[in-house]
Assembly symmetry: C2
Homo-oligomer: 329 residues x 2
């Protein structure tokens, strides 16, 4: 990461009050960038107004589907594009809203960016989820796309519109297909952002938590490492090896959910307990089994590597919430 | 093809006044099916009211985005889903309309079909175009998806919503990714449906035509073979090897555009001429080079194989238009 590069850069972060977006905003502000955060503040999503406390960035509440975007995007040097409907179940319940948010509204943003920020770099937050149940592990970028739900379809489409901006207009664009991420500012009220959110809440409230399945592998990424990846992607976006590419982004070496549960308890000074149960039948279609990313391409192209071991990241996360739990319930 | 299977079947054909849809309607009516054709009759698309002359099917003019679909779909045994915005350039000019037609409206149709035709089989007309510039030839179904334009993004998304109906609800669904198709009822007014349309028009009007490039390979599919593939796909849609699958559909053995131009002139009794020019620079991003399909999977699963040699298909096409040219200009 090249701190000097960011000084006085004009940066727009969509989804800027969400988990990853807000962490990115804090980092950008610390580097001296001039940051605008846009967020629709969906009740069911990852946004929390407290996420930007102390960051010193401007938060604009607005929905990509209908907000006046020209003034927000005008003259931006970098767009970090994290706004999305990310709920699997939400996509099944209202697939029209899902595609309108994740794809149609992205087309709108693409067009505005052509008009008012034609030179801006774009880093798009994408997801492992549209790979579906992996055909092989680790999953590299050549893995076929087999979305397990409507949300995977819309997220893929939104990503592709941005990649076209690189192919057709030569705009520097990078898409990061993220694995499960965790850390401070994750939604922990429930399991809507990730299962790890509700595990954290239960641990902090001294309640047992539930592990669905247990043998599935996951490669969790600590949010500071994800933030570094976003910054690095933007800095390298005009490199020929990076521009127009999708990159899988992994995290810690894969662990089973059962081992992860044990690590969580250890990170909570040994306090806590969990039970295991079968993956619920009504969610079986979106149970993708084990996943871990092959992120060698991104490491080679940018020099990025995750720095925070899982045990340390879990402890830092629990410690962070312990001081402000009520803001996140 | 199993003629008896179709007797009295209730069939809805979206895009039923278009090139492929209308040919399918004629075949279905001939087999004794009860056919409803739905078509938005877009000015720039493949629909022509004369396409259904003599077919004996009911044509409903309506747009999937807003037409009342329940009454049309209620009790259908089979849905042939061919309605789409298929223009590459149209997708670039108005990508919001493009995704609304090809993906959001498809979600709407999916939901209506759940309500009023939960047991219907669905054959979705998909396209080779979102494979982009082939990484290898022939292109099989494992080829990565790299849409060269917005229209490829929206067509892929629309297909995926139907595949989810198979994965999640076990509805029999098949998607056929078509190569360039030709034959009677193709739009020949201009090149909006395929370059071959305008070649045919020029030949029939005794004018020279233009070949862009010339060395690119194409595997053209004659419309009667495509119709047979749609019927076979529906008949086999509940087979385990077919349900929920995408299949590439090819046609005649690949020929270069230059050789195809010579074949067209031969099929016109040796009358006609053409010039070659570079692929226009403003369309270079959507120039995908050579394409031919590996359709071995569909042949193995259904027994389908193309029957009409290219020379014969071209002659039949030209003869058909010669008698009704003014209806298609």
């Amino acid at each position: 990461m090249n701190a000097a590069w960011w000084k006085n850069r004009r940066v727009l972060v969509t989804g800027g009050a969400g988990f990853l977006g807000s962490n990115l905003c804090h980092a950008l502000a610390g580097l001296g960038a001039r940051v605008t955060a846009l967020d629709a503040m969906f009740e069911e999503g990852g946004a929390n107004p407290r996420n930007l406390d102390g960051a010193g960035v401007m938060l604009v509440r607005g929905d990509l589907r209908d907000t006046e975007l020209h003034s927000l995007a005008r003259g931006a040097d970098v767009l970090f594009n994290l706004a999305a409907q990310t709920s699997h179940m939400g996509g099944q319940k209202d697939p029209v809203a899902d595609i309108n948010i994740n794809a149609v509204a992205q087309v709108r943003l693409v067009q505005v960016m052509r008009e008012v920020a034609p030179g801006a770099r774009v880093v798009h937050a994408s997801t492992r989820q549209f790979y579906g149940r992996p055909l092989y592990l680790p999953v590299n970028e050549m893995h076929p796309v087999n979305p397990p739900d409507a949300n995977g379809v819309s997220k893929w489409a939104g990503e592709q519109y941005w990649l076209l901006e690189s192919r057709v207009l030569k705009r520097p664009v990078v898409s990061l297909r993220l694995t499960n991420c965790y850390g401070p500012r994750l939604r922990i009220r429930d399991a809507k952002q990730t299962f790890l959110g509700i595990w954290m809440r239960r641990l902090l409230e001294n309640e047992p938590f539930e592990v669905w399945g247990g043998e599935q592998l996951r490669d969790l990424a600590f949010v500071d490492d994800v933030t570094a990846a976003f910054l690095g992607a933007a800095e390298h976006a005009d490199d020929a090896r990076v521009n127009g590419q999708v990159f899988n982004l992994g995290g810690a070496p894969p662990v089973s959910l059962r081992d992860l549960a044990d690590l969580c308890i250890a990170a909570n000074d040994g306090r806590g307990s969990f039970s295991t149960r079968e993956f619920p039948a009504d969610r079986a279609p979106i149970d993708i089994g084990s996943y871990h990313a092959d992120d060698a391409a991104f490491r080679a192209a940018t020099g990025w590597a995750p720095q925070v071991p899982l045990a340390q990241g879990l402890r830092r996360t629990l410690d962070w919430y312990r001081e402000r739990l009520e803001d996140y319930l």
